[in-house]
Point group: C2
Chain length 370, copies 2
């Protein structure tokens, strides 16, 4: 890492492995499949590690990811953003690569348009109905008659079918305690299981009952009636997940390697070559005083610096780091743990993978775009 051009994205393989093992054990203990969400890592190498010995396929957030993973041989893929008819031809193109690309929707009007479009394409297209388990972003409430209406529109059509129900408890990110996460996890489970029962009562098979967020996956007390979960950011962790109790600082697998460009004694701060472009502008992890920052500084070995100083200000290619105990030399290398792994990783085309000793052992590509 002393020789890499900075800023650069560093992935600690041992920490990644430990995070994957921990979530795989959780899925096993809860008796559900693990369908990891690849929206954070967007990497074939990480996906292979995350799905090793797992039967649950993967989740993706864009059709570009679906295409990328399908070309790498992944065959069971859930596209976790509501489908619209204009995207169905691109779905068919991914399916032509040999992947079973499952889709979601939550709206009868959309279902009718999709069914009409599907007739013009080579399907079949298979769907999960999206349920709102409390985030109130997308999805139907489990007792909404439209759940069954959507399912009927699809099952009554040629070329479309229903495989089950899914939800995402994104509001678990707003929880301020583990107990609160547990309550959200139970609401997530109960909502999607209720919707599954509605479908089954109408004689519509519902083999997939899917939940997913990293906090609820970690803290759900049980997932009775659920068949799979779709956490994603657990692979890397980040300061936001740390702030809500989903990981320790020692679990953070992703960091940005940066160099000290300057030290201003008058301002008591270092300037580093990781700014808004290298760290992202995500403010998701305020510090213990509620102040926004853009990442926490660690030494080149990944040990947080004394006092856990944070990047307090960024320009496009400059980051400003006050709070150091002593003036760093120009060229000193630091590692910055990001607020939000998804946002920061998206700034890079590849990971530099390190082993336990800090040696760079590999370069893993990641995908981007839509």
């Amino acid at each position: 890492m002393q020789d890499l051009r900075t800023p650069a994205l560093i992935l600690d393989r041992a920490r990644l492995r430990a995070n994957l093992d921990r979530m795989a054990a959780r899925a096993a203990a809860l008796g559900v499949n693990l369908r990891p969400h690849m929206k954070t890592a967007k990497s074939i190498d990480v996906a292979r590690m995350a799905t090793k010995d797992q039967a649950g396929g993967i989740t993706v957030s864009t059709l570009a990811e679906a295409d990328y993973f399908a070309r790498a041989g992944f065959t069971d893929i859930l596209y976790g953003v509501g489908i619209t008819p204009d995207k169905l031809a691109d779905v068919a193109a991914v399916q032509a690569l040999g992947a079973d690309l499952k889709l979601i929707l939550d709206n009868p009007d959309c279902a009718r348009l999709v069914v009409a479009r599907a007739k013009e394409l080579s399907g079949p297209f298979r769907f999960l109905i999206e349920i709102d388990s409390g985030q109130h972003r997308t999805g139907l409430l489990p007792d909404d008659p439209k759940v069954l209406e959507c399912a009927r529109i699809l099952t009554d059509s040629d070329g479309c079918d229903v495989l089950g129900v899914m939800t995402h408890a994104g509001h678990s990110y707003d929880c301020s305690s583990i107990d609160a996460v547990r309550r959200v996890a139970e609401a997530e489970r109960a909502a999607v299981v209720a919707a599954a029962e509605t479908l089954r009562a109408a004689a519509i098979p519902c083999p997939i009952v899917s939940v997913g967020s990293t906090p609820t996956a970690l803290y759900a007390e049980h997932l009775d009636g659920v068949t799979e979960m779709r956490p994603g950011v657990y692979m890397f962790g980040d300061l936001f997940q740390h702030s809500i109790g989903s990981c320790g600082l020692d679990d953070l697998a992703l960091s940005v390697l940066t160099s000290v460009n300057a030290w201003r004694a008058d301002e008591g701060r270092a300037m580093v070559d990781a700014g808004a472009m290298a760290l992202s502008l995500d403010r998701g992890a305020p510090d213990e005083n509620g102040a926004h920052a853009f990442g926490m500084a660690a030494d080149i070995h990944g040990r947080p610096l004394p006092g856990q100083p944070r990047i307090r200000q960024v320009n496009q290619e400059h980051g400003f780091l006050p709070g150091l105990e002593e003036a760093p030399d120009i060229g000193t290398r630091l590692r910055i743990f990001p607020n939000h792994a998804c946002a920061t990783a998206a700034k890079y085309s590849h990971y530099h993978v390190i082993d336990e000793t800090g040696r760079i052992i590999d370069t893993w590509q990641r995908t981007t775009g839509w």
Copy 2:
């Protein structure tokens, strides 16, 4: 644009051309060279248009850009972020491509380290001394003895030399009136001209006296003593530049094409497929009430929707747009003008270029990374 997979980055060539012409005319009227900053566009095609009939070379914000433009035949390149010795070998590699890659620094300690490192490499390395004209981010105050000290360290060495002085009036972005921008522009000019005079009084030639920011380039009353200016975001414009008077809404050349995924009558808002990943989390352009948003919605022709509604909330792949006069159909295509063109463009690998009629006439690649 009805057939593109969304979200997609759209560049209006006619507006781009008009913005380029306007700034070229400004440079001519002020009697300075134009060295456009490519940190926003990061595109060879845009750089060729921006430098047509100009003699001033280009500016870049990363060594990846320097390499990319050098490979495309650009020979006069200023790397506008302070150099450190660890990056000098990469500079030499770009120079080996045939480019004169000029560097900046502002610190005698750094200058000594760079001079020592330069001896091990094939130079020459040529520098501008960075001056602080009021932003207090980087650079030396014009009357700081270190200006001359830096220059001496470089001119006394083998393989390094000084070409002049430069500054960036980034604090022009904080101005709330055109008069305030004019005052910053004069401070920017005066600071860098004073520093140039200090060098010349010490018999150090100073052929380059460089200023640059889009607001000061547009509103400086004169640039006597200055030889070049380095604006960048003027090429595209954005809502932030609009908010500080640097461009009109009709000048905005960059937008994100998005599709309506859903309409929630209960919440009175549309959901579109451009979220944080597609728009960026830059909050730089609060609306007329001071509220943060993530871009302004226009129709597919680029006409702002009635009431100029803004994306008020984003998740990773979802954007939420309240304030529409009527419910849009699923699949309706909108264009979102971004808060900050640099941050939004960085999310994409290429531009879809449209002509005056909205027809897509080309695809232009852009570079990324460091």
